[in-house]
Symmetry: C2
């Protein structure tokens, strides 16, 4: 008997529906922001469901919630699995919570199958993955993995001035009874299920994405400075038109980053013109560059060319490009990728290896232990949106693959 | 004796300084908006100065103020001269008011020279040239020349909801004693002096610009519609990036309108991106086109190519270009241009024929009678700005040329 045999299609989908009621929005989505009362309600419900199969809850200092299935050999580091339960303000019903429910269902299946794994398995719900209430995102996993300081995270404040520490304190009446645990306890490995948040699986008729890594990302703020002038009088030969220079730069970068394989992602999403008046030659343009690629060396090479291309297209204007953010690509553990692939093949579920374009808690966990991810399809690739949708049969298939992967990892 | 001999350098410059006190701003400029109490104070002062040399004031239904020097032959249409006294909210001390003061000084000189011209000469101060309180601009001259309806103009409202009619009514206590006159009384011709509002005369060391006409102007609002997408996930091959399409269009139009003679004026001054977020592929860009040329046929030809160029560069996006405004070029009367040139040559004042890039009351008057303009230099071409400056000797030279032109026109 395999663990996946015991995954219950009705149960996991019913539980996802139940979770979607907590913070439900009129538009069919969810507003369940980090450390809100809705978030605490979801955690309480998760603890209750875990208790049904003997999972022991614990919370660390930053508010990550763990549900532990004990292993037969207490000397071995546990296998960790999970995702997050917080959402965007007008978020969907699947982002994050799917991975938590898939992990719970996988543990349920392992227990129901009568398996007694050597390693413990810990389901984790990372706090504040979205970063929409307390920016930046990926807070709980970052503090756990040691890429972010606990003190800095506790001091983050939301728009109302409430700090993370105060928000945790405020949830004491609901979660105060849950035992505390030390921060950053070592795990043997980490596996996360998540919705794809992109269109690739759906378009290719595949159910499981074996995530090979997370692409790297650099961002820039580019300021092009020219000179305001009267649209009627200023001769073109004497103009310092910041908009024309910015347009040349934007298109020249596009040519430079042209990629026959269509892997490079180059986006100018923000573009602000001053004084932005119809009859005034623009004095200044400030625009953003978002540049992503899974190959760290290539990303760096492209990113390093930004300054020169900007300067080369500035004409009579001056240009300043400031690198704001720089995240190297993440490559997930080969062994875990192989395990996910074997599990999917074993269940005859169509799958593909693929990159994640978005950041995930698993990316930070890869710094702490061998980690991996599996994706299930997102309808039309829509995400961070109330219309987010994943098909119930894909929900179940993801949990089945995860169950077999965890059973194997826990021995 | 020529009329110009009697132009008084001290008087005209002192009077300009006096006028600059009405609505003076802390930054050394003027805030004297149309039909404000400051505007009425300036009109009262003008009437008083006119009375010193026997000029008869009258006001028409839209609030244009006329000061009339009677001619010896009442059967002849009068020569008209003037400009405007209203300013931008942070306007300069010369825009408009210079032409009114130059006309007053010219009349003073004609009277002082003992000339008795056959035609009357009417000094006019056009109401609301700037359009900064009651948009659009060129209101008084437009109503006088019949290019705009009186009723529509009276119904215009300022930002506080006050109509032109109500603003005129409110000035009754100050200007109510001034005799009324019928709207649009015919003139033989019209000549206006104005600051250049551009750098051409100063750069070329010339004092008088003989204005040959006003360039035509077309404006567009272009809407490029694509599709918002995630900067990390959306493959370039599937993007509908409105910003990239807009940048292509803006540069393609620039190539199309390239002009070795540097006469064409093509400006994209406003450019708004939605949703304007760094990690979202732009869904929409709305930008303005301001296109000017003195040759009406050529302007129309260029303007008519906008649609096709937009469509040709839109790629996967859709684009809609709406023509918002269309003003044909104005060509001023040849005879008046020649008269100004003769007057300037007669006084050995360096001069050049030149176009006006900006609109002026004289442009509308050309629809009603043979009209012309002369410019004096603007320091660094700065205008609509408290730093606006014209040199006192240029102030006087402009008035001297105008005096000889008016004397000749009035016979």
């Amino acid at each position: 008997m395999k663990a996946s045999d015991k995954v219950d299609h009705q149960r996991i989908n019913a539980r996802l529906d139940e979770m979607a009621k907590i913070g439900a929005t009129a538009g069919g989505g969810v507003n369940r922001q980090a450390l809100s009362t809705e978030d605490a309600a979801a955690q309480s419900l998760l603890i209750a469901w875990g208790a049904e199969i003997g999972l022991e809850p614990s919370i660390d200092e930053i508010g990550n919630l763990f549900l532990t299935l004990a292993g037969t050999d207490p000397g071995l580091d546990p296998v960790m699995t999970g995702s997050h339960m917080d959402s965007q303000p007008t978020g969907g019903r699947y982002d994050g919570i799917y991975g938590v429910m898939a992990s719970l269902e996988a543990l349920h299946a392992i227990v129901d199958a009568g398996m007694k794994p050597a390693r413990g398995i810990e389901l984790v719900s990372w706090v504040n993955e979205e970063g929409s209430r307390f920016a930046p995102s990926l807070m709980g996993s970052g503090v756990h993995a040691g890429t972010r300081s606990l003190a800095d995270a506790l001091a983050l404040r939301d728009a109302d001035g409430v700090s993370v520490a105060e928000a945790i304190e405020a949830l004491e009446p609901v979660l105060g009874h849950v035992p505390r645990r030390p921060l950053g306890r070592q795990a043997a490995c980490y596996v996360e299920a998540h919705i794809e948040q992109g269109p690739v699986l759906e378009r290719n008729g595949e159910t499981i994405g074996i995530v090979t890594g997370i692409q790297g990302k650099h961002t820039y703020r580019v300021t092009v400075t020219g000179e305001a002038a009267h649209a009627g009088t200023a001769p073109h030969g004497e103009r310092k038109d910041a908009l024309m220079a910015a347009a040349r730069i934007v298109l020249a970068l596009g040519r430079e980053f042209e990629d026959p394989e269509d892997i490079t992602r180059y986006t100018v999403g923000r573009f602000n013109v001053s004084p932005n008046a119809p009859s005034v030659v623009p004095r200044e343009v400030v625009f953003s560059i978002d540049l992503r690629h899974p190959d760290g060396a290539r990303l760096l090479r492209m990113s390093d060319s930004v300054q020169e291309i900007c300067a080369g297209q500035a004409g009579p204007c001056t240009v300043r490009a400031v690198r704001l953010y720089e995240a190297a690509p993440i490559v997930f553990d080969d062994g875990i990728q192989d395990l996910i692939e074997k599990a999917a093949s074993g269940l005859s579920v169509p799958h593909r290896r693929m990159l994640s374009a978005a950041g995930h808690d698993a990316g930070l966990m890869q710094h702490a232990c061998p980690s991996g991810m599996l994706f299930i399809p997102s309808k039309d690739g829509i995400t961070h949106n109330e219309a987010e949708y994943s098909h119930p049969s894909d929900i179940t298939e993801g949990a089945r693959v995860l169950a077999d992967v965890l059973a194997r990892l826990a021995g």
